[in-house]
């Protein structure tokens, strides 16, 4: 199977080149690849379906993590792989005709092939991580295909929406899969599926399940994430047929089926999966009311069908699983065909509005045939496969623990609406009066009707002779249930309650068809309710997030250095203060010494200066007052008999004040002081910072330090260096290297200053002259 995936990727590389070579006709050529896969897979069928053996391939990839390229072809994988390759081949042929002359047709072939490979990867992977990799690849290719007509804003927005919903859900899925493999101790799906009981009793089960379900529900457009699917209909029709009906959106359903042995069976699973499925089933059907666009009608019923599949998987049990598998097959046949039909109609007439279409049967005979066959299946009429699927659906509802009036009522209602939609899509455009269409309908080439006829024909043939598909269905059911259940399908069940429900559905549907205009006017209500739907929630959420981000930028990133400094100080005070407070015990500071009068005076002066500074409006005064604090410090050093420190501090303080004055005296006064509340906050931060530093200094000085190094110098200066002046010895001997370094630095700095002076003196003069001229000019202007 690695061969399939690799050959797909390699083939994809050559597609642009091949397309340039063969042009629009290359669709037939590109279809050969999936057809080849189809035959390869079909060749494995006797082994996989006949003997129930799964074919496995393991190639180590990241052995230290137990990640390997593990593929597994079992019944379920076979069903999906056949659908993906078979419908893929038809859709590629169709795309050759549908997009003929389109500037990006080559890109279409490339993307759809890549998607096909990714989708095959999803259904064939036996490792969770591998599955996830392909899962995200399908999301990305789907995004690119929805945005195919990217000149249109709608296409971009829809592509965007689909990507955010499905890729976002995909990340939740990743988290869920990681948890699941942690619980199971392996990433291999076949191993995980054998440890179902242990997984379900694990404490992480709920979290893993919820995350995986989010991934599956977003992908399969389950309520409340269903809104992206109808919007995705801006994609070219073959894309809608393939990705958004037959394959990709079923990936979520596939995942649920795949992990059924590991996750299903708990009441949480049943409650969540079946009720979400049921909601989606109803929502999809009801939202279809009032739609006039062929593709949107099909999209909403697709949502409903996906809901049905999820519902059945949620119910669990032999019958429901069997029903789900048959439903998947039936839906892939008829919905794929109808989408392609809709595309052909659109191509021929230029519109997809059901109100404007009619009487196309004579112009599009083959398309009409396909539409009718698929329509029968979709409406649930015998002898198509759709009828069989619906019977099984009703039957499993009868068996389920759900209250019958609710589940059956919902199912019958949805079935009736689907019937009406089937009539509107598959019948109405082809018969009746000719309506006004943008351009006179033209016949379509073989590419357009080949796919739909084959698909819808298959739906009918399998319906009449279910035995043809029984091995496939049985294989899928067996691998979902991990049992050797025998599946028998028959069109005629005899006269049972189920048949009665079917007839009721058909009757209701017929009634709905007769009064469909009134019904559709009623559907207008959705337009009014739209502002309260989940799509709106998505929009509001996205906009809110954007606005929140913008607001946050304004607040946190306002560009003011002082604000940044404040944040850092505040955080440090909080973090360090927290540590200090949490260890109050060692905050024991030694007793106070006697406070002398001079000290008192100096400190009071310094505090007074600190209080005054923020209230000053003149920069010069501020600098001078800051100098006061510095000189106060000098005095304190003197009082504590540290004249060397005092000298240094004095020199630095003086220099700073002079530099400040030089820089500052040209600047204007502070005119805009910040408002009081801000200043109050600043005060709090300043006090916090100051207190923290004070506390730290107190604590540090309270601790006895290592023995003074000065003793060592005093004792050894004569002994080791033969010098009586300790300072001299330190400078030239004990720290000789330091001195050398300092001298070098000074010399270098001197050279630098000399160079600067020489280089810039001339320019500086010019600069000052210019400045003076400017000032004079300003002066004159003022006068």
């Amino acid at each position: 199977m690695l061969v399939i995936i690799l050959s797909g990727f390699i083939f994809a590389v050559f597609i642009p080149w091949l397309y340039r070579r063969f042009g629009a006709r290359s669709g037939w050529l590109f279809a050969l690849l999936p057809l080849g896969w189809l035959f390869y897979l079909a060749g494995q069928a006797p082994l996989v379906l006949g003997q129930g053996q799964a074919i496995e391939e393991h190639i180590p990839w990241v052995p230290s993590l137990g990640v390997e390229l593990a593929f597994r072809l079992d019944g379920l994988g076979m069903l999906f792989a056949l659908l993906v390759t078979g419908i893929g081949a038809l859709v590629i042929i169709y795309g050759g005709g549908y997009l003929s002359g389109h500037p990006y047709q080559g890109r279409f072939f490339l993307l759809i092939t890549l998607f096909m490979v990714a989708m095959l990867g999803v259904v064939l992977s036996d490792h969770l991580l591998l599955l996830f990799v392909f899962w995200e690849l399908t999301s990305i290719t789907s995004f690119l295909l929805i945005g195919f007509e990217h000149q249109r804003y709608g296409a971009r927005a829809a592509a965007w929406q689909a990507l955010l919903v499905t890729a976002g859900g995909g990340l939740a899925l990743l988290a869920g899969l990681v948890l699941l493999s942690q619980v199971a101790g392996s990433g291999l799906i076949s191993v995980i599926n054998q440890n179902g009981a242990a997984i379900r009793s694990s404490s992480l089960y709920t979290a893993a399940l919820l995350l995986i379900l989010i991934g599956a529900f977003t992908k399969s457009a389950q309520f409340p994430f269903h809104f992206w699917l109808p919007n995705a209909m801006v994609a070219p029709t073959p894309v809608s047929a393939y990705l958004h009906s037959a394959t990709m959106v079923k990936a979520g359903v596939f995942l649920l089926a795949r992990l059924t042995p590991a996750l299903a069976g708990t009441s949480l699973w049943q409650a969540l999966v079946s009720s979400v499925g049921f909601m989606t089933l109803l929502v999809g059907a009801l939202l279809a009311l009032g739609q006039r666009d062929l593709k949107r009608l099909l999209a909403y019923t697709t949502v409903g069908a996906l809901g049905t599949m999820t519902f059945l998987l949620g119910l669990g049990g032999d019958l429901a699983i069997k029903a789900a598998v048959v439903y998947i097959l039936a839906h892939a046949f008829y919905k794929g065909a109808l989408f392609l039909v809709a595309g052909a109609v659109d191509h021929s007439t230029g519109t997809r509005d059901i109100e404007r279409l009619g009487n196309l049967a004579s112009i599009l005979p083959w398309v009409t045939l396909a539409a009718l066959l698929a329509g029968i299946s979709m409406a649930g009429l015998p002898p198509a496969l759709g009828f069989l699927a619906k019977e099984l659906f009703f039957e499993s509802l009868m068996e389920s623990t759900w209250p019958h009036y609710l589940s059956l009522g919902g199912a019958i209602l949805a079935g009736a609406i689907t019937f009406v939609v089937a009539a509107l899509v598959a019948f109405k455009p082809f018969w009746g009066r000719t309506q006004d269409v943008p351009h006179p309908p033209h016949p379509v080439s073989v590419e357009f009707w080949l796919g739909p006829v084959i698909l819808s024909g298959l739906g009918l043939v399998v319906g009449i002779m279910p035995a043809l598909a029984t091995p496939l269905i049985q294989g899928a059911v067996q691998s979902i249930l991990q049992s050797s259940l025998k599946v028998k399908l028959a069109l005629w069940h005899g006269i049972t309650p189920v048949l009665g429900f079917s007839l009721l559905t058909l009757g209701l549907g017929g009634l709905g068809w007769a009064f469909y205009r009134r019904l559709w006017q009623g559907g207008e209500i959705w337009r009014k309710l739209a502002p309260w739907g989940p799509a709106r929630l998505y929009e509001v959420g996205l906009n809110g997030l954007r606005r929140f981000a913008a607001w946050q930028t304004r607040v946190l990133q306002n560009g003011y250095l002082r604000f940044y400094v404040m944040t850092i100080v505040l955080t440090t005070v909080l973090l360090t203060g927290f540590t200090l407070l949490s260890r109050l015990a060692w905050l024991g500071v030694g007793g106070w010494g006697d406070i002398r009068f001079y000290e008192f005076v100096v400190v009071v002066l310094m505090i007074a200066a600190a209080v005054v500074i923020p209230r000053l409006r003149s920069r010069l005064a501020t600098v001078a007052t800051m100098g006061m604090i510095g000189y106060g410090l000098v005095l304190i050093y003197l009082i504590y008999s540290a004249p060397d420190l005092a000298m240094v501090q004095f020199a630095i303080e003086t220099l700073t004040v002079i530099l400040f004055v030089l820089a500052v005296y040209r600047l204007p006064k502070f005119t805009r002081l910040t408002p009081s509340p801000t200043r109050f906050l600043d005060l709090l931060v300043a006090i916090g910072g100051g207190m923290l530093m004070t506390a730290l200094v107190l604590i540090v000085t309270a601790r006895p330090l290592v023995p003074h190094i000065s003793d060592y110098f005093a004792q050894n200066s004569l002994l080791l260096a033969n010098g009586r002046n300790v300072v001299n010895v330190i400078l030239v001997d004990f720290r000789g290297l330091d001195t050398l370094g300092e001298i070098t630095v000074l010399a270098l700095a001197g050279i630098g200053v000399y160079a600067l002076v020489r280089l810039t003196l001339g320019r500086l003069m010019v600069y000052f002259e210019g400045l003076e001229e400017e000032e004079e000019a300003e002066h004159e202007r003022a006068l």
Binding site: V133, H150, R156, A167, A550, L561, I568, T571, L575, T576
Partner: protein
């Protein structure tokens, strides 16, 4: 000092000497032939890289235990040196056309790299501080290299003031650690902690102060605010260098110091790390949403990436996952470095004089018009998002795995959710590139293309062999004194 001492720091010493030589050569080089300097710098970096790689597998300490050598340092030194080479390639044409080609650029770059290597090998807190300043001061100058562009000057000044401010915290932290243990050598501090003579309260306060200082260097929230302003104002090749190498150096010193000195303080420090990691991921990603300037957007993206890295560092005190944490962080640094440099190369290619060509709108139509550049940018954005089949995916995967293995599922989920947000802004660039019509103006330059295509190829091809890469980083263990 003996010869064997010198051998331990040979790449550093060589880089320093080479930088001084370059300064001298610059004096005699005419203005219009500055290109020679770039080539000489590249030569020097390549030689230093060779010297560094020759040291792999060796370990030990030198200069009376002031510096250590281990595979961890060899790996990171190689990362800095390669970053320097890439920054040179980005700047070769850029400096010329932006009219800021001055010889000092190359010497400053080398000085900064030497500082980073020293920081990574320092085994003494005072040396840590010195190296931190040594790597930062050239960067302050480099940030203002686009003088007289006001933005650049503002960036340099902001970076300098805030950097000096945060250095003060590092110094405070060192003082407190010294106060607690009466030792500034890492070996000595470890001894003191082991023997129980250390004052735990002091040590904790010191550790927090150090965290603040290093948090500034790696641009973790709430010490990140300089990053967008500085990244935007600096010349773009310098920005790329800062985003990769400086961040890596910050993480290197964070790892060495915290893993060595403070594993015992994990109970009180872990909540702080947890909070900073969560905040960094959330704020970085959220703020990136609102950006319309590509440099600012990438700046926030680099903040967010620091958050992911910190997430793996949260359980640093847990001996069972610490090794895994280091190797996954180093792996991520590599993945992130390659991806980010590639993205910056594309940014450089589109940047025009006077700071034009930097809005997201300027990327409209890039994909169809310049397919190679478009595809490489697509790869970088996918890798930053963490999409499979790129190195970024594995990077994130390993980080998340570490967090989950240490029991921080909550952090991993925050990381995942913020990754969803990041998908929005990364892929928005892709959407603009491919789905909007536009006439992007691109500077064609061979070196830029080489960087873009080379890193893109690495990002994709190396993702096929993640095991080998992870094993490489797993071998880069810390030397425990």
């Amino acid at each position: 000092m003996s010869l064997s001492d010198l051998m331990m720091v040979l790449p550093i010493a060589f880089t320093l000497v080479w930088a001084l030589v370059l300064l001298l050569i610059d004096l005699w080089l005419p203005r219009e032939r500055q290109g020679i300097l770039a080539l000489l710098t590249a030569l020097g970096l390549a030689v230093a890289l060779g010297l560094d790689l020759a040291q792999s597998g060796r370990s030990g300490s030198a200069f009376r235990d002031m510096v250590v050598l281990d595979n961890f340092a060899v790996f990171l030194n190689a990362l800095y040196l390669i970053s320097g080479l890439i920054a040179l390639a980005l700047g070769y044409d850029y400096l010329k056309r932006m009219e800021m080609e001055r010889g000092e650029f190359y010497a400053l770059l080398l000085f900064s790299i030497a500082g980073m290597m020293l920081l990574t090998q320092a085994n003494h807190l005072i040396l840590v501080f010195l190296a931190l300043e040594f790597l930062s001061i050239p960067l302050y100058v480099l940030a203002g290299f686009a003088r007289p562009r006001l933005e650049s000057e503002e960036a340099a000044l902001k970076y300098f003031l805030l950097g000096a401010f945060s250095s003060a915290f590092v110094l405070y932290g060192i003082a407190l650690v010294f106060g607690a243990t009466a030792n500034a050598s890492l070996t000595g501090v470890i001894e003191a902690v082991r023997s129980g003579s250390a004052e735990v309260g002091f040590l904790t306060a010191g550790a927090v102060m150090l965290l603040v200082g290093f948090g500034f260097k790696v641009a973790a929230v709430p010490f990140h605010e300089w990053a967008p302003d500085v990244y935007q104002g600096s010349p773009t090749p310098v920005t790329g260098f800062m985003a990769v190498a400086t961040k890596a150096a910050g993480f290197a010193v964070l790892m060495r110091i915290f893993l060595n000195l403070f594993p015992g303080l994990a109970t009180s420090l872990t909540p702080i790390f947890w909070g900073i990691a969560a905040l960094t991921m959330i704020v970085g990603n959220l703020l990136a949403l609102a950006q319309s300037n590509i440099k600012r957007l990438l700046a926030y993206s680099s903040i967010a990436n620091a958050g992911y890295l910190l997430m793996a560092f949260v359980p640093y005190g847990n001996a069972q996952v610490a090794g895994q944490a280091i190797s996954s962080m180093l792996f991520y640094l590599l993945a992130y470095g390659l991806t980010t440099f590639g993205a910056w190369a594309v940014v450089v290619a589109l940047e025009q004089a006077e700071g034009r060509g930097l809005t997201l709108e300027d990327y409209a139509g890039l994909g169809p018009k310049y397919p190679w550049l478009g595809v490489t940018m697509l790869i970088f954005m996918l890798s930053l998002t963490g999409v499979p089949l790129t190195l970024g995916f594995w990077g994130k995967f390993f980080l998340f795995r570490t967090a989950v293995a240490a029991g921080y599922v909550d952090l991993a989920i925050i990381g995942l959710l913020t990754s969803v947000i990041s998908a929005y802004y990364y892929l928005r660039i892709v959407v603009i590139m491919y789905m909007r019509a536009g006439e992007p103006r691109v500077r064609r330059d061979g070196w830029l293309n080489l960087v873009a295509i080379g890193t893109a190829a690495a990002v994709v091809l190396l993702s096929v062999v993640p095991v080998q890469m992870l094993e490489l980083t797993a071998r880069a263990v810390l030397h425990l004194p």
